[in-house]
Amino acid sequence: MNGPDVVWYLCVAAFLFCTGALGVLIRRSPLIVLLSLEIMLNGSNLALIAFARHHGREDGQIFALAVMAVAASEVVVGLGLIVAMARRRLDLDVDKLRTLRG
């Protein structure tokens, strides 16, 4: 096939994944955390499709579709939570939301 080597796709995927992971760990706004989570998921999707192409099988693509469905549902729940928190005028700061501590 034409195009760059699978390796480059994997590098991009890894870069996306790490960026997303860093975002989840460092950022304080739940919205940005959710965004970073999406980036991670996209990174994983890219890796899956790259490998599907590499092995010549469609398993990875099907898996990627499933991941997209999960990501969509999870975003719905997450955004709903954030909107509910904003409505209650809570601080949208992950460090301040710790009522569920032991």
Binding site: A21, V24, L25, P30, V33, V94, D95, L97, R98, T99, L100, R101, G102
Partner: protein
């Protein structure tokens, strides 16, 4: 003969059970008659056994009989076993005979008491226990009788259970006896280990084969029991307090029978003691020390019963001296005569106490000779017998012991000297008691409180036994006279052959000196208390406090036990009971608190944890692959 022996044993038990079960349906007097009859039956049965033994030749006078197996464990078998042999027949006659007289006397003495039935049940139980002790054919049953006798003593000393002093005395007697029981049990354990049996005919022949220390320990354990039961040094403090019980109890238990059980034990197990000669000598030494100690303390007592109690302690010291030196028959002979005159003294004192409405303090008495002439003469006979004046009973028996001591060697001669001093003291304190109570002018107290005893059943029951015992105290000694006429020694020879025999010269010399000392003691007592020619010297605090033994034991045993118990309660039990569960709960709570710190509530921490775990897992995966 065997059947008679079993009847002798169980008749009083039957009476005790019957009195308990019949309860209120039996009259008080009826309970007394029932008890007396049962003991009388025992005496008759004892006579039958004795007659049966007479018919045998001396070497065949040994008849064991087992009714049922009492305790078994594998090859060990301890049966309900009695033996009819010269020694047990001798003791059966003494116990049942004197017991019969005293229980009969009790009918009059305890008349009117609320709880007469209980008293007679206990007395019958006691006679059964004592007979079990002397008739038993193995050492375990002897120990059972030993303990039951201690139990009856506890029940009877504490008979008037509303008096704190009586209850305290009863408990003290029982606990001290329990110490003796424990040492005896230890001796028996050692014996079982050696001989696998406790039957007399299996144990005694093996005695010389025990090792040195085993034989000594066995004898020591038995001696511990004997010393506790017979109120000898060092376990003697319970006997004077035991006078809290009714006077017939003192007469029967604490003079004639129970306290002599120690002497019986030593004679019965003499082969075990002969295998441990040092211990046997220790027994004699303890007897000598006790007779001196008791004699000195008796000099300062003011309670008439306590004087007689200390005199008992002292006389048993003589018996221990005798059997400790191997003069078994002499010791037993003195046991018998002592039973007669001591019971007599107690019973006469009982009449005095009854007549004075319960007063026992001799300082308030005086001049009773005029009010109770017959009692006075009975008391006089008893006192003369006790002091060892011929021809009364004590002279023959006590002097035979002292003469045997003379024949034993340097140790015996040392003890002979002690015994002689004791003879002087005996005369002194006995007649001090007699003169203080009976001579002189009647005191104001006597004039006020004296009431004569009536002549009915009560009077008869008080008078006749005293009369019989007076005769026995006067003539009983004639049963054995030095080397010349020795039926007692001959009778007991097959069971307990004597180790020492005094020569005629030693007998004569010892007797003469003893009589002189005894009369000297009587003379001094007359000088001070009878004729009032001199003042009694002030008594030493040492004597008044009975050589401080009570205080010593209190400090040595009772207080430490209480202290230890309280300390354990505070330092071990409270923390254990309250603390242990609290500690456990606390520890679990701590663990929970530690674990709780993981739940920070921060999303970022959780995310970090997930990331870290994934990283580690990946690393492991890669490395392993």
């Amino acid at each position: 003969m065997i059947a008679a022996a079993w009847i002798c044993l169980f008749a009083p038990l039957g009476a005790a059970i019957a009195i308990t079960l019949l309860g209120q349906r039996l009259t008080r007097r009826g309970a007394g008659y029932l008890a007396t009859t049962s003991v009388g039956m025992s005496f008759v049965a004892a006579l039958v056994s004795f007659a049966g033994l007479l018919g045998d030749s001396p070497s065949q006078r040994y008849h064991p009989s087992t009714l049922w197996r009492w305790l078994t464990a594998g090859p060990y078998d301890f049966g309900m076993r009695i033996t009819v042999d010269p020694l047990s027949a001798f003791m059966m006659l003494v116990v049942a005979g004197v017991g019969f007289l005293i229980v009969w006397y009790s009918i009059g003495y305890m008349d009117g008491d609320d709880e007469e039935r209980r008293y007679f049940a206990y007395m019958a139980l006691f006679v059964f226990s004592m007979l079990l002790l002397v008739q038993s054919g193995n050492l375990l049953l002897l120990l059972a009788g030993w303990g039951l006798v201690g139990l009856s003593s506890y029940l009877l000393i504490g008979f008037w259970h509303e008096r704190p002093s009586a209850i305290a005395a009863a408990k003290k007697a029982f606990v001290m006896n329990a110490v003796g029981d424990a040492t005896m049990a230890l001796a028996l354990f050692l014996l079982i280990q050696r001989t696998r049996s406790l039957d007399f005919e299996k144990v005694f022949p093996q005695a010389p084969a025990f090792g040195g220390w085993a034989a000594n320990l066995i004898a020591l354990g038995l001696l511990g029991g004997a010393v506790a039961k017979s109120a000898q040094l060092p376990l003697q403090t319970w006997l004077p307090d035991a006078m809290e019980g009714p006077t017939p109890v003192s007469a029967l238990i604490h003079a004639a029978t129970m306290v002599t059980a120690g002497v019986y034990l030593i004679v019965r197990t003499h082969t075990l003691f002969e295998a441990a000669p040092r211990v046997e000598e220790l027994a004699a030494g303890l007897g000598a020390a006790t007779l001196l100690l008791a004699g000195l303390i008796a000099l300062v007592q003011t309670d008439i019963k306590r004087v007689i109690a200390y005199s008992t302690m002292s006389q048993i010291g003589y018996m221990f001296l005798g059997v400790g030196l191997g003069a078994y028959a002499n010791g037993m002979f003195h046991l018998m005569t002592h039973a007669f005159f001591k019971a007599l003294l107690f019973m006469a004192a009982g009449i005095v106490i009854h007549a004075l409405a319960g007063e026992q303090d001799m300082r308030r008495m005086g001049g009773l000779r005029q009010f109770l002439p017959r009692t006075y003469w009975a008391f006089m006979v008893g006192a003369l017998a006790l002091a060892g004046v011929p021809p009364f009973a004590g002279f023959f028996s006590k002097d035979s012991i002292l003469a045997a001591a003379l024949a034993h060697g340097w140790y015996g001669q040392l003890l002979w000297v002690v015994g002689m001093v004791g003879t002087f003291l005996t005369g002194l304190y006995t007649f001090r008691m007699l003169f203080m109570a009976f001579w002189g002018e009647p005191s104001a107290f006597v004039r006020e409180h004296f009431h004569a005893l009536n002549r009915d059943v009560v009077g008869v029951s008080l008078a006749v036994p005293v009369g019989v015992l007076t005769v026995l105290a006067a003539l009983g000694g004639w049963l054995q006279f030095a080397d010349v006429w020795t039926p007692v020694s001959n009778w007991l020879e097959p069971v307990a052959p004597a180790l020492v025999e005094a020569s005629g010269l030693q007998e004569a010399a010892s007797s003469a000196i003893a009589v002189v000392l005894g009369i000297a003691g009587i003379g001094v007592a007359w000088w001070i208390y009878g004729a009032r020619r001199a003042e009694a010297p002030r008594s030493l605090p040492l004597l008044e406090h009975k050589f401080y033994f009570d205080e010593l034991y209190d400090a040595l045993f009772y207080r430490p036990a209480v202290f230890l118990a309280n300390a354990l309660l505070k330092w071990v039990e409270r923390p254990l009971v309250f603390g242990s569960v609290r500690e456990l709960a606390g520890a679990i709570r701590e663990l929970g608190l530690e674990t709780r710190s993981i739940q920070t509530g921060l999303v970022r921490t959780y995310a970090l944890a997930i990331a870290a775990s994934v990283a580690v897992a990946t690393l492991v995966f890669v490395v392993v692959r």
